[in-house]
Symmetry: C2
Subunit: 220 residues, 2 copies
Amino acid sequence: LIQLKDIYKTYTTGAVSYEALKGITLHIDSGEYVAILGPSGSGKSTLMQIIGCLSTPSSGSYLLDGKEVSQLNRNELAKIRNQKVGFVFQNFNLLAQLDIVDNVALPLLYRGTALAERRRLAKEILKKLGLENHYKHHPNELSGGQKQRVAIARALVASPEIILADEPTGNLDTQSGNDVIQLFEQFTSEGKTVIVVTHDLEIAKRAKRIIHIQDGKIAN
Amino acid sequence: LIQLKDIYKTYTTGAVSYEALKGITLHIDSGEYVAILGPSGSGKSTLMQIIGCLSTPSSGSYLLDGKEVSQLNRNELAKIRNQKVGFVFQNFNLLAQLDIVDNVALPLLYRGTALAERRRLAKEILKKLGLENHYKHHPNELSGGQKQRVAIARALVASPEIILADEPTGNLDTQSGNDVIQLFEQFTSEGKTVIVVTHDLEIAKRAKRIIHIQDGKIAN
Ligand SMILES: Nc1ncnc2c1ncn2[C@@H]1O[C@H](COP(=O)(O)OP(=O)(O)OP(=O)(O)O)[C@@H](O)[C@H]1O
Ligand SMILES: Nc1ncnc2c1ncn2[C@@H]1O[C@H](COP(=O)(O)OP(=O)(O)OP(=O)(O)O)[C@@H](O)[C@H]1O
Ligand SMILES: [Mg+2]
Ligand SMILES: [Mg+2]
């Protein structure tokens, strides 16, 4: 499903260039549950953004479901992303002006789902994450872990083929973290692909496969 | 040093009131290293904001160094906060328009430290947290864990009496997390008070005392 070959990503700030990914080659099949581990600054979020079609590599090839996506423009990437990917961001990226039900319903809006059905599905996934008492709240009225769970709900609500979660349990107590991982395991049993970046070894151990990133490369 | 008595905190959203803290009584001496544990949404950040003079309780008394601070206005609170408290926020609260050295130097600006000395001290603490290659970067050019370390550096740079850290290692790998806790332990050995909210039991175990919060109360 996901085939990365020789992926490089360079960030340029003014005159300075920084090579965040230095030749990543990686295959992930559909239905796999993969954990990505590595030190702070090693390139994990950068890799996730390329896999999730949020950014393009500086060089290298990315075949997603057999289609070369590394050279697509922003609109083409957005189309693929909205169809196939659910993304839990490390910094949540929730919209302050919407209540949490509308925040979570956004991916369904992009897919053309009708209003009543969008809100119904959004409430359903929020309830699974323990947030049914907070439907009317806006993100700034929630605790850190509650915001994180809203971000997770949004990534799952449209039942996407690929779920990418960047540090999804960093703000959660052990019980809430386990509830989240159980949801991910349920999705893989339905044939979806789940890729989780985590610093938590307990979470990583539950994945079927662990990939180690160090200094922009896959370590062995 | 810190004496909370019957602290209540209610949030009101439109017509709905939510009691986040329900009668907290707590004493913390100077030089103590305390961990606060509890489920997501249980009131930990709310409690930290009251201890750190960022917000006032709805009722109850707070004696900080013998002085009643629960009824102070915003300017009086800010004065005490700038003198005594270093705060690591759960969502970092960094300023996008400043490079990380200026971000970290802010508490010294409030204390009237001269420019060259501010930047020198800021670089020194950033180096201890492994960020010397990123002095010229702005927060949006950093990884999640790098941002978290900048937030920690800012809380420590003015060597405040009280360090409050709300989930300081959620985005950090085990090694970086240990470096941070070592810095906190060094500060307590110098007589400072450190209070850490964490979901990580490994971090909590290294504190001298653990306080459990559940549903806005101290649990036993
Ligand atoms: N501005 C607000 N308006 C309304 N309710 C709020 C507001 N801020 C926090 N709350 C509620 O108060 C409760 C406690 O929030 P708090 O942020 O203290 O929790 P926490 O223990 O830090 O959680 P976490 O571990 O998820 O960070 C939560 O249920 C939250 O929804
Ligand atoms: N916009 C940017 N401009 C310049 N450098 C960047 C930018 N974004 C990220 N970087 C750098 O690229 C490297 C990798 O960043 P990335 O966010 O992928 O790390 P990470 O493995 O997710 O780290 P963490 O565990 O701390 O979240 C870091 O050293 C970071 O400073
Ligand atoms: Mg990251
Ligand atoms: Mg909190």
